[in-house]
């Protein structure tokens, strides 16, 4: 059953992205940012975690999940350290993703030579 939900929820998020590009004429970069912000807002209202619960990777793989994770990290640290925690916590949960992007980006650049 979780596979079906993953397909439906993940697919629905992609449909929204495609709609933003094709109908709203947003650039790919704007589309991505919009989805991150949407995920952050949903996360802030505690609406994103239920999605992950029913759809698993269908909700945790799309970029909206990144926005959700940013907010979660910030809220967690804010409870511990107050306002400063908002700043330090943003990358608390997402640091694995960001570090991976840097490390693999570096490794990729060593091997390939981008020509564009």
């Amino acid at each position: 059953m979780i596979f079906l939900w993953a397909f439906l929820v993940g697919g629905a998020i992609c449909v929204v992205g495609q709609f933003l590009m094709d109908v709203m004429k947003l650039t790919p970069a704007h589309t991505m940012s919009t989805l991150v912000v949407a995920g952050a807002i949903l996360g802030g209202f505690e609406l994103y975690d239920p999605l992950i619960k029913i759809a698993g990777a269908g909700a945790s793989v799309p970029i909206t999940s990144f926005g959700n994770a940013l907010v979660h990290g910030a809220l967690q640290e804010a409870q511990k350290d107050g306002l400063v925690g908002v700043l330090t916590g943003i990358f608390e949960v997402t640091s694995a993703g960001i570090s991976a992007a840097i490390v693999f980006g570096f490794l990729g650049a060593l091997v390939f030579r981008p020509r564009g």
Partner: protein, 340 residues
């Protein structure tokens, strides 16, 4: 000699002494592959950047045209050239290699016919015996400049077009045998307020219509005077819009006599969306395929209408609409009465 509002008539009928077309890997897979003089399998043409590859493409094409005319570089008196790159660097750098008096042009994808019209004017006014005109485009250098980095892989809508990796060149002379340029209509900029850079066909179709209508009006001829009217790179979307405009305005061009270079160059390949575009599209199809078929006697008179979208990435980002232009040149096969 000017006739009407915006048309030049060339009484001396300058001769296209030679023409050359060079293409890239995707052009080699298209239905017009046999009409190219050289086809490259490598998008980089052995160079280290897309820009250098485009310059090499253009240089090769110019060399080929000069060679086919049986001339040397020194005999070429003027070189008229333009391309899509910022500051038309492909053209300027080619002119640096050629060491020929040079006039740089920018008409986006209308450059091919802008160049041919001006070359014919220079020859017709007896200001030169041999003029070389050329243009080029490269898919990756254009993508990089106008759209997204080539590695980015951004999605495109079905109205988008594929910038051709191609170059076309022609040597226009005062005397000799070959196809002749008889008239040219210089278009004015038409902007219908369209803003989508992924639908250039729709933006350019009205400009093409205006130039074609002006051509027939200025010369007081009917579309029946031509065996073929061919637009530069409207693609499938622009082609159907222009066909509709012809109908609405009672310009009777039978469907089989109106074609578009952007649709011809890649055939039915769905990976190029609406069709081909870029300076090199109209130039290579005209200077390769179309002229070859005229030489074989399939058509006697054709009207080539090269269309250009005069936008930059910056004007698009600032929400400006897309100004468009089209230039038409009529080319005739040599007939008995055509020979002076």
């Amino acid at each position: 000699m000017k006739q009407g509002h915006q048309t030049w008539l060339f009484p001396s009928k300058p001769v296209i002494l030679s023409s050359a077309a060079i293409g890239g890997p995707l052009e080699a897979q298209g239905p017009l592959a046999d009409d190219f003089d050289t086809l490259h399998g490598d998008m980089l043409l052995g160079q280290s950047s897309w820009e250098k590859a485009e310059k090499t493409l253009l240089e090769e094409c110019c060399d080929k045209a000069i060679e086919k005319a049986g001339l040397t570089k020194e005999q070429i008196e003027y070189f008229l050239c333009g391309d899509l790159m910022n500051q038309i660097v492909s053209s300027s750098f080619t002119a640096r290699t050629l060491q020929t008096p040079f006039l740089g042009l920018f008409g986006a994808c209308s450059t091919s016919m802008e160049g041919l019209a001006l070359a014919s004017l220079i020859v017709d006014s007896q200001s030169a015996d041999y003029v070389l005109t050329a243009t080029s485009s490269h898919n990756s250098s254009a993508e990089k400049q106008y759209r997204y980095p080539t590695e980015y892989g951004a999605q495109k809508p079905p109205t988008a077009q594929w910038t051709a990796t191609a170059s076309g060149a022609a040597v226009v002379g005062r005397e000799g045998t070959g196809l002749r340029v008889t008239s040219a209509t210089i278009g004015r900029v038409v902007d219908m307020g369209l803003t989508d850079p992924f639908n250039m066909g729709a933006a350019m179709a009205p400009a093409a219509f205006h130039t074609i209508e002006s051509h027939f009006r200025d010369l007081q001829i009917s579309p029946a005077a031509y065996d073929l009217v061919v637009t530069g790179d409207l693609g499938r979307v622009g082609h159907s819009i222009l066909s509709e405009m012809f109908q609405q305005h009672q310009i009777e061009i039978p469907p089989e006599r109106y074609r578009d270079c952007g649709m011809m160059i890649y055939g039915e390949n769905p990976n190029v969306w609406s069709g081909g575009s870029g300076c090199g599209c109209c130039a290579s199809v005209t200077y390769g395929h179309l002229l070859h078929r005229m030489k074989r006697g399939e058509w006697k008179r054709i009207l080539v209408v090269a269309t250009g979208a005069l936008l930059s990435p910056l004007t698009f980002q600032q929400n400006e609409s897309i100004p468009c232009i089209a230039h038409a040149v009529s080319i005739e096969a040599e007939s008995e009465e055509g020979v002076r």
